[in-house]
Protein backbone atom coordinates (compact mmCIF):
# COMPACT_ATOMS: atom_id res chain seq x y z
CA UNK A 1 0.00 0.00 0.00
CA UNK A 2 1.20 3.52 -0.79
CA UNK A 3 0.42 6.89 0.82
CA UNK A 4 -2.17 7.84 -1.78
CA UNK A 5 -4.28 4.75 -1.11
CA UNK A 6 -3.75 5.00 2.63
CA UNK A 7 -4.92 8.59 2.81
CA UNK A 8 -7.78 8.07 0.37
CA UNK A 9 -9.26 5.73 2.98
CA UNK A 10 -9.05 8.28 5.78
CA UNK A 11 -12.66 9.35 5.38
CA UNK A 12 -14.11 5.91 4.90
CA UNK A 13 -15.84 4.68 8.09
CA UNK A 14 -13.74 2.03 9.78
CA UNK A 15 -16.50 -0.55 9.55
CA UNK A 16 -16.55 -0.10 5.78
CA UNK A 17 -12.86 -0.86 5.28
CA UNK A 18 -12.27 -4.56 4.62
CA UNK A 19 -10.15 -6.36 7.16
CA UNK A 20 -7.46 -7.11 4.61
CA UNK A 21 -7.16 -3.43 3.68
CA UNK A 22 -7.00 -2.49 7.35
CA UNK A 23 -4.12 -4.88 7.86
CA UNK A 24 -2.32 -3.35 4.91
CA UNK A 25 -2.88 0.12 6.29
CA UNK A 26 -1.47 -0.97 9.61
CA UNK A 27 1.66 -2.30 7.94
CA UNK A 28 2.02 0.91 5.97
CA UNK A 29 1.62 3.11 9.04
CA UNK A 30 4.47 1.37 10.76
CA UNK A 31 6.86 2.70 8.16
CA UNK A 32 5.23 6.00 7.09
CA UNK A 33 5.26 8.86 9.59
CA UNK A 34 3.11 11.16 7.42
CA UNK A 35 0.29 8.66 7.11
CA UNK A 36 0.63 7.72 10.75
CA UNK A 37 0.08 11.37 11.72
CA UNK A 38 -2.86 11.70 9.33
CA UNK A 39 -4.56 8.54 10.63
CA UNK A 40 -3.93 9.54 14.22
CA UNK A 41 -5.41 12.96 13.56
CA UNK A 42 -8.43 11.40 11.89
CA UNK A 43 -8.95 9.08 14.83
CA UNK A 44 -8.80 11.98 17.24
CA UNK A 45 -11.16 14.02 15.13
CA UNK A 46 -13.63 11.15 15.15
CA UNK A 47 -13.26 10.87 18.91
CA UNK A 48 -13.79 14.61 19.26
CA UNK A 49 -17.00 14.41 17.24
CA UNK A 50 -18.23 11.55 19.38
CA UNK A 51 -17.33 13.50 22.51
CA UNK A 52 -19.23 16.66 21.60
CA UNK A 53 -21.54 17.10 24.57
CA UNK A 54 -25.25 17.69 24.23
CA UNK A 55 -27.36 19.60 26.71
CA UNK A 56 -29.33 17.63 29.19
CA UNK A 57 -33.00 17.46 28.40
CA UNK A 58 -34.84 16.77 31.59
CA UNK A 59 -38.17 15.10 32.05
CA UNK A 60 -39.60 18.45 33.11
CA UNK A 61 -38.33 20.06 29.91
CA UNK A 62 -39.97 17.25 27.97
CA UNK A 63 -43.28 17.81 29.74
CA UNK A 64 -43.10 21.52 28.97
CA UNK A 65 -42.43 20.78 25.33
CA UNK A 66 -45.39 18.41 25.12
CA UNK A 67 -47.60 20.95 26.87
CA UNK A 68 -46.71 23.48 24.19
CA UNK A 69 -47.49 20.96 21.46
CA UNK A 70 -50.92 20.26 22.96
CA UNK A 71 -51.60 23.97 23.44
CA UNK A 72 -50.69 24.71 19.84
CA UNK A 73 -52.98 21.96 18.65
CA UNK A 74 -55.86 23.15 20.82
CA UNK A 75 -55.52 26.72 19.56
CA UNK A 76 -55.54 25.49 15.98
CA UNK A 77 -58.72 23.49 16.59
CA UNK A 78 -60.44 26.42 18.27
CA UNK A 79 -59.52 28.64 15.38
CA UNK A 80 -60.96 26.17 12.91
CA UNK A 81 -64.18 25.83 14.87
CA UNK A 82 -64.71 29.57 15.10
CA UNK A 83 -64.18 29.92 11.38
CA UNK A 84 -66.63 27.17 10.61
CA UNK A 85 -69.31 28.34 13.00
CA UNK A 86 -70.46 31.22 10.85
CA UNK A 87 -71.58 28.94 8.06
CA UNK A 88 -72.54 25.96 10.13
CA UNK A 89 -76.03 24.60 10.29
CA UNK A 90 -77.40 22.63 13.18
CA UNK A 91 -76.66 19.01 12.77
CA UNK A 92 -80.01 18.15 14.30
CA UNK A 93 -81.94 19.21 11.26
CA UNK A 94 -79.66 17.71 8.70
CA UNK A 95 -78.65 14.30 9.83
CA UNK A 96 -81.75 12.44 8.96
CA UNK A 97 -81.00 8.81 9.59
CA UNK A 98 -78.75 6.30 11.23
CA UNK A 99 -78.69 3.18 9.14
CA UNK A 100 -77.10 -0.16 9.73
CA UNK A 101 -75.34 -1.29 6.64
CA UNK A 102 -73.67 -4.54 5.75
CA UNK A 103 -70.00 -3.77 5.83
CA UNK A 104 -68.55 -7.13 4.95
CA UNK A 105 -69.81 -9.99 2.88
CA UNK A 106 -69.87 -12.15 5.96
CA UNK A 107 -73.13 -11.91 7.86
CA UNK A 108 -71.59 -11.30 11.25
CA UNK A 109 -74.62 -9.54 12.59
CA UNK A 110 -78.23 -9.12 11.80
CA UNK A 111 -80.89 -6.60 12.57
CA UNK A 112 -84.19 -8.02 13.58
CA UNK A 113 -87.22 -6.42 15.21
CA UNK A 114 -85.25 -3.26 15.95
CA UNK A 115 -82.38 -5.10 17.60
CA UNK A 116 -78.81 -5.54 16.44
CA UNK A 117 -77.90 -9.18 17.03
CA UNK A 118 -74.20 -10.03 17.28
CA UNK A 119 -72.35 -13.27 17.76
CA UNK A 120 -70.85 -13.13 21.23
CA UNK A 121 -67.08 -12.95 21.71
CA UNK A 122 -66.68 -12.44 17.97
CA UNK A 123 -64.92 -9.19 16.95
CA UNK A 124 -67.28 -7.63 14.49
CA UNK A 125 -67.15 -4.47 12.43
CA UNK A 126 -70.58 -2.94 12.40
CA UNK A 127 -71.27 -0.53 9.60
CA UNK A 128 -73.25 2.48 10.78
CA UNK A 129 -74.36 4.95 8.18
CA UNK A 130 -75.27 8.57 8.79
CA UNK A 131 -77.19 10.37 6.08
CA UNK A 132 -76.63 14.10 6.04
CA UNK A 133 -78.38 16.71 3.96
CA UNK A 134 -75.30 18.87 3.91
CA UNK A 135 -71.58 18.75 4.51
CA UNK A 136 -70.88 19.53 8.15
CA UNK A 137 -67.59 20.33 9.82
CA UNK A 138 -66.65 20.07 13.46
CA UNK A 139 -69.27 17.53 14.32
CA UNK A 140 -68.70 15.80 17.61
CA UNK A 141 -69.44 12.11 17.42
CA UNK A 142 -70.09 10.32 20.67
CA UNK A 143 -70.61 6.60 20.82
CA UNK A 144 -71.70 4.78 23.95
CA UNK A 145 -71.78 1.02 24.01
CA UNK A 146 -73.94 -1.03 26.37
CA UNK A 147 -72.55 -2.97 29.29
CA UNK A 148 -70.91 -6.13 28.00
CA UNK A 149 -69.87 -4.61 24.70
CA UNK A 150 -66.57 -2.88 24.00
CA UNK A 151 -64.46 -1.66 21.13
CA UNK A 152 -62.57 -4.55 19.62
CA UNK A 153 -58.98 -4.52 20.81
CA UNK A 154 -59.75 -1.91 23.47
CA UNK A 155 -60.70 -3.83 26.60
CA UNK A 156 -63.28 -2.01 28.65
CA UNK A 157 -63.58 0.94 26.27
CA UNK A 158 -67.28 1.68 25.89
CA UNK A 159 -67.27 5.42 25.39
CA UNK A 160 -65.57 7.25 22.56
CA UNK A 161 -65.93 10.82 21.39
CA UNK A 162 -64.18 12.72 18.67
CA UNK A 163 -64.59 15.66 16.32
CA UNK A 164 -64.88 14.98 12.64
CA UNK A 165 -66.86 15.93 9.61
CA UNK A 166 -69.81 14.67 7.66
CA UNK A 167 -69.97 14.74 3.92
CA UNK A 168 -73.24 15.49 2.17
CA UNK A 169 -75.05 12.23 1.62
CA UNK A 170 -74.03 8.92 3.11
CA UNK A 171 -71.27 8.65 5.69
CA UNK A 172 -70.09 5.26 6.84
CA UNK A 173 -68.69 4.65 10.30
CA UNK A 174 -66.95 1.32 10.69
CA UNK A 175 -67.36 0.44 14.33
CA UNK A 176 -65.22 -2.50 15.50
CA UNK A 177 -66.90 -4.07 18.50
CA UNK A 178 -67.00 -7.25 20.49
CA UNK A 179 -69.77 -8.27 22.88
CA UNK A 180 -69.88 -10.82 25.64
CA UNK A 181 -72.60 -13.46 25.73
CA UNK A 182 -75.70 -12.13 27.36
CA UNK A 183 -75.10 -8.53 26.39
CA UNK A 184 -78.42 -6.80 26.17
CA UNK A 185 -78.54 -3.04 26.10
CA UNK A 186 -78.58 0.07 23.99
CA UNK A 187 -75.93 1.51 21.75
CA UNK A 188 -76.20 5.26 21.37
CA UNK A 189 -74.63 7.54 18.81
CA UNK A 190 -74.87 11.27 19.34
CA UNK A 191 -73.87 13.88 16.81
CA UNK A 192 -73.59 17.45 18.00
CA UNK A 193 -72.57 20.71 16.52
CA UNK A 194 -73.00 24.28 17.61
CA UNK A 195 -75.25 23.42 20.49
CA UNK A 196 -77.56 21.25 18.44
CA UNK A 197 -77.48 17.51 18.56
CA UNK A 198 -79.10 14.41 17.29
CA UNK A 199 -79.15 11.19 19.21
CA UNK A 200 -79.69 7.73 17.81
CA UNK A 201 -80.15 4.59 19.81
CA UNK A 202 -80.03 0.99 18.88
CA UNK A 203 -80.90 -2.10 20.88
CA UNK A 204 -78.09 -4.66 20.97
CA UNK A 205 -78.15 -8.33 21.80
CA UNK A 206 -75.23 -10.74 21.78
CA UNK A 207 -75.98 -14.39 21.30
CA UNK A 208 -74.29 -17.61 20.33
CA UNK A 209 -73.96 -18.18 16.57
CA UNK A 210 -77.37 -18.90 15.23
CA UNK A 211 -78.00 -20.32 11.76
CA UNK A 212 -81.41 -18.72 11.77
CA UNK A 213 -79.81 -15.34 12.28
CA UNK A 214 -77.57 -15.91 9.30
CA UNK A 215 -80.53 -16.70 7.14
CA UNK A 216 -82.37 -13.71 8.49
CA UNK A 217 -79.55 -11.50 7.35
CA UNK A 218 -80.32 -12.15 3.76
CA UNK A 219 -84.01 -11.71 4.17
CA UNK A 220 -84.14 -8.49 6.16
CA UNK A 221 -84.25 -4.96 5.06
CA UNK A 222 -81.26 -3.39 6.77
CA UNK A 223 -82.21 0.23 6.70
CA UNK A 224 -83.99 1.78 9.59
CA UNK A 225 -84.24 5.14 11.21
CA UNK A 226 -83.82 5.29 14.94
CA UNK A 227 -83.54 9.04 15.23
CA UNK A 228 -85.11 10.56 18.29
Amino acid sequence: MNCEISQSLLDVPAEEIPAAARAQIQVHLETCAACRTAWHAQRLLGAALAAVPAPDFSEVAGQRLLARVFAFDTRRQQHTMVAAAAAAVLVAGLVTALTLTRYTQTPEYVFHNGTLILQSEQPTTVGVRFDSGSALANVRFTIDLPQGMQLAGQPGLRHVSWVGELRKGQNLLKLPVVAHAGTHGVLTAELSQNGGSRRFSLAVLASQPNPLAVRLWHGLTHQFDTGT
Binding site: L49, A54, L66, V160, W162, G164
Partner: protein
Protein backbone atom coordinates in the same frame (compact mmCIF):
# COMPACT_ATOMS: atom_id res chain seq x y z
CA UNK B 1 -70.74 4.99 -2.21
CA UNK B 2 -70.78 6.46 1.29
CA UNK B 3 -67.92 8.53 2.64
CA UNK B 4 -66.06 6.76 5.38
CA UNK B 5 -65.95 8.51 8.71
CA UNK B 6 -62.48 8.34 10.14
CA UNK B 7 -63.11 6.49 13.35
CA UNK B 8 -59.72 4.99 14.12
CA UNK B 9 -57.97 8.32 13.91
CA UNK B 10 -60.01 10.01 16.54
CA UNK B 11 -61.63 7.43 18.65
CA UNK B 12 -60.44 8.79 21.96
CA UNK B 13 -61.11 11.89 23.98
CA UNK B 14 -58.57 14.76 23.78
CA UNK B 15 -57.28 13.97 27.26
CA UNK B 16 -56.77 10.33 26.46
CA UNK B 17 -55.17 11.19 23.15
CA UNK B 18 -52.72 13.46 24.91
CA UNK B 19 -51.96 10.79 27.47
CA UNK B 20 -51.35 8.19 24.79
CA UNK B 21 -49.15 10.51 22.78
CA UNK B 22 -47.18 11.43 25.89
CA UNK B 23 -46.65 7.79 26.79
CA UNK B 24 -45.67 7.00 23.24
CA UNK B 25 -43.14 9.75 22.70
CA UNK B 26 -41.74 10.44 26.16
CA UNK B 27 -39.17 7.61 26.20
CA UNK B 28 -37.63 9.09 23.06
CA UNK B 29 -37.69 12.81 23.85
CA UNK B 30 -34.20 13.02 25.27
CA UNK B 31 -32.68 11.25 22.29
CA UNK B 32 -34.67 13.35 19.86
CA UNK B 33 -33.57 16.53 21.54
CA UNK B 34 -29.94 15.45 21.60
CA UNK B 35 -29.95 14.62 17.89
CA UNK B 36 -31.82 17.81 17.07
CA UNK B 37 -29.28 19.76 19.07
CA UNK B 38 -26.47 18.13 17.13
CA UNK B 39 -28.27 18.80 13.87
CA UNK B 40 -28.87 22.44 14.64
CA UNK B 41 -26.11 23.28 17.10
CA UNK B 42 -28.42 25.43 19.19
CA UNK B 43 -30.75 24.61 22.06
CA UNK B 44 -33.64 26.80 21.02
CA UNK B 45 -33.47 25.59 17.44
CA UNK B 46 -33.34 22.02 18.67
CA UNK B 47 -36.48 22.54 20.75
CA UNK B 48 -38.20 24.23 17.83
CA UNK B 49 -37.31 21.35 15.56
CA UNK B 50 -38.54 18.68 17.98
CA UNK B 51 -41.65 20.70 18.77
CA UNK B 52 -42.51 21.01 15.11
CA UNK B 53 -41.99 17.30 14.61
CA UNK B 54 -44.23 16.43 17.56
CA UNK B 55 -46.91 18.87 16.51
CA UNK B 56 -47.06 17.37 13.03
CA UNK B 57 -47.20 13.86 14.43
CA UNK B 58 -49.79 14.68 17.06
CA UNK B 59 -52.15 15.94 14.41
CA UNK B 60 -51.94 12.59 12.65
CA UNK B 61 -52.72 10.02 15.33
CA UNK B 62 -53.41 7.35 12.75
CA UNK B 63 -49.80 7.70 11.71
CA UNK B 64 -47.94 7.92 14.98
CA UNK B 65 -49.54 5.05 16.80
CA UNK B 66 -48.62 2.51 14.13
CA UNK B 67 -44.83 2.10 14.03
CA UNK B 68 -43.52 -0.97 15.80
CA UNK B 69 -40.14 0.65 16.42
CA UNK B 70 -41.05 4.22 17.33
CA UNK B 71 -37.49 5.20 18.22
CA UNK B 72 -36.16 4.45 14.76
CA UNK B 73 -39.23 5.89 13.13
CA UNK B 74 -38.93 9.11 15.12
CA UNK B 75 -35.26 9.57 14.23
CA UNK B 76 -36.10 9.08 10.57
CA UNK B 77 -38.93 11.60 10.82
CA UNK B 78 -36.69 14.08 12.61
CA UNK B 79 -34.00 13.64 9.99
CA UNK B 80 -36.45 14.11 7.14
CA UNK B 81 -37.96 17.18 8.73
CA UNK B 82 -34.55 18.68 9.36
CA UNK B 83 -33.20 17.95 5.89
CA UNK B 84 -36.26 18.57 3.78
CA UNK B 85 -38.41 21.13 5.45
CA UNK B 86 -37.15 22.74 8.56
CA UNK B 87 -34.39 24.71 6.95
CA UNK B 88 -36.78 26.40 4.54
CA UNK B 89 -38.86 27.78 7.35
CA UNK B 90 -35.97 29.43 9.13
CA UNK B 91 -35.41 33.10 8.68
CA UNK B 92 -31.65 32.78 8.57
CA UNK B 93 -29.44 30.32 6.76
CA UNK B 94 -28.32 27.64 9.14
CA UNK B 95 -24.67 28.29 8.42
CA UNK B 96 -25.05 31.71 10.02
CA UNK B 97 -26.81 30.30 13.02
CA UNK B 98 -24.64 27.34 13.62
CA UNK B 99 -22.61 28.36 16.58
CA UNK B 100 -22.58 26.35 19.71
CA UNK B 101 -24.23 27.96 22.65
CA UNK B 102 -21.04 28.59 24.56
CA UNK B 103 -22.48 29.54 27.87
CA UNK B 104 -24.54 26.42 27.86
CA UNK B 105 -21.73 24.27 26.58
CA UNK B 106 -19.36 25.58 29.20
CA UNK B 107 -21.66 24.33 31.89
CA UNK B 108 -21.57 20.86 30.39
CA UNK B 109 -17.91 20.75 29.48
CA UNK B 110 -16.91 22.01 32.87
CA UNK B 111 -17.54 18.73 34.56
CA UNK B 112 -14.49 18.50 36.75
CA UNK B 113 -12.41 20.78 34.54
CA UNK B 114 -11.16 23.83 36.40
CA UNK B 115 -8.07 24.81 34.46
CA UNK B 116 -9.03 27.85 32.34
CA UNK B 117 -6.33 27.18 29.80
CA UNK B 118 -7.44 23.61 29.20
CA UNK B 119 -11.05 24.71 29.10
CA UNK B 120 -10.17 27.34 26.53
CA UNK B 121 -8.44 24.72 24.45
CA UNK B 122 -11.46 22.51 24.76
CA UNK B 123 -13.72 25.32 23.67
CA UNK B 124 -11.37 26.10 20.83
CA UNK B 125 -11.64 22.53 19.58
CA UNK B 126 -15.40 22.64 19.87
CA UNK B 127 -15.46 25.95 18.06
CA UNK B 128 -13.40 24.55 15.22
CA UNK B 129 -15.55 21.46 14.98
CA UNK B 130 -18.62 23.62 14.96
CA UNK B 131 -17.18 25.86 12.27
CA UNK B 132 -16.22 22.87 10.16
CA UNK B 133 -19.63 21.26 10.51
CA UNK B 134 -21.41 24.46 9.65
CA UNK B 135 -19.97 24.22 6.14
CA UNK B 136 -21.77 20.95 5.50
CA UNK B 137 -25.03 20.59 3.69
CA UNK B 138 -28.02 19.51 5.76
CA UNK B 139 -27.80 16.02 4.32
CA UNK B 140 -24.10 15.64 5.03
CA UNK B 141 -24.37 17.07 8.49
CA UNK B 142 -27.25 14.81 9.42
CA UNK B 143 -25.37 11.73 8.26
CA UNK B 144 -22.23 12.78 10.09
CA UNK B 145 -24.14 13.42 13.30
CA UNK B 146 -25.90 10.07 13.16
CA UNK B 147 -22.76 8.16 12.24
CA UNK B 148 -19.90 9.82 14.08
CA UNK B 149 -21.79 11.25 17.05
CA UNK B 150 -24.68 8.84 17.55
CA UNK B 151 -22.70 5.76 16.63
CA UNK B 152 -24.81 4.26 13.84
CA UNK B 153 -23.06 2.37 11.08
CA UNK B 154 -23.53 3.23 7.42
CA UNK B 155 -25.57 0.07 6.97
CA UNK B 156 -27.82 0.96 9.89
CA UNK B 157 -28.30 4.45 8.54
CA UNK B 158 -29.27 3.07 5.16
CA UNK B 159 -32.06 1.11 6.82
CA UNK B 160 -32.95 3.79 9.35
CA UNK B 161 -33.21 6.62 6.84
CA UNK B 162 -34.37 4.44 3.95
CA UNK B 163 -31.55 5.73 1.80
CA UNK B 164 -29.42 3.67 -0.58
CA UNK B 165 -26.24 2.51 1.09
CA UNK B 166 -24.21 4.21 -1.62
CA UNK B 167 -25.89 7.53 -0.86
CA UNK B 168 -25.14 7.19 2.84
CA UNK B 169 -21.51 6.31 2.15
CA UNK B 170 -20.92 9.12 -0.31
CA UNK B 171 -22.53 11.72 1.97
CA UNK B 172 -20.53 10.45 4.88
CA UNK B 173 -17.29 10.34 2.95
CA UNK B 174 -17.70 13.89 1.70
CA UNK B 175 -18.81 15.14 5.09
CA UNK B 176 -15.85 13.61 6.89
CA UNK B 177 -13.39 14.89 4.35
CA UNK B 178 -14.81 18.39 4.46
CA UNK B 179 -14.87 18.53 8.25
CA UNK B 180 -11.33 17.23 8.45
CA UNK B 181 -10.04 19.73 5.94
CA UNK B 182 -11.81 22.70 7.49
CA UNK B 183 -10.87 21.59 10.98
CA UNK B 184 -7.22 21.34 10.06
CA UNK B 185 -7.30 24.66 8.25
CA UNK B 186 -8.35 26.55 11.37
CA UNK B 187 -5.75 27.12 14.03
CA UNK B 188 -2.79 24.95 14.82
CA UNK B 189 -3.80 21.35 14.19
CA UNK B 190 -0.99 19.83 16.15
CA UNK B 191 -1.74 21.87 19.24
CA UNK B 192 -5.39 21.09 18.92
CA UNK B 193 -4.83 17.39 18.60
CA UNK B 194 -2.48 17.24 21.55
CA UNK B 195 -4.98 19.02 23.74
CA UNK B 196 -7.70 16.80 22.43
CA UNK B 197 -5.60 13.75 23.07
CA UNK B 198 -5.06 14.81 26.67
CA UNK B 199 -8.77 15.32 27.12
CA UNK B 200 -9.56 11.92 25.77
CA UNK B 201 -7.06 10.33 28.07
CA UNK B 202 -8.46 12.32 30.94
CA UNK B 203 -11.92 10.98 30.22
Amino acid sequence: MPSVISFRHAQVSPAERQARFTAWVSPHLQQLHRIAWRFTGHSQDAEDLVQELLLRLYRKPGVWDKPEQPGIWLIRSLHNLYVDQWRRTRRQPLSNRHNLDWDELAGMADSGETDPERLAHSREIQRRLSAAMSTLSQEQRAILVLHDMEGHTAGELSLLLKLPLGTVKSRLFRARRQVREIFLKHGNPAAGFYVLSDELEAT
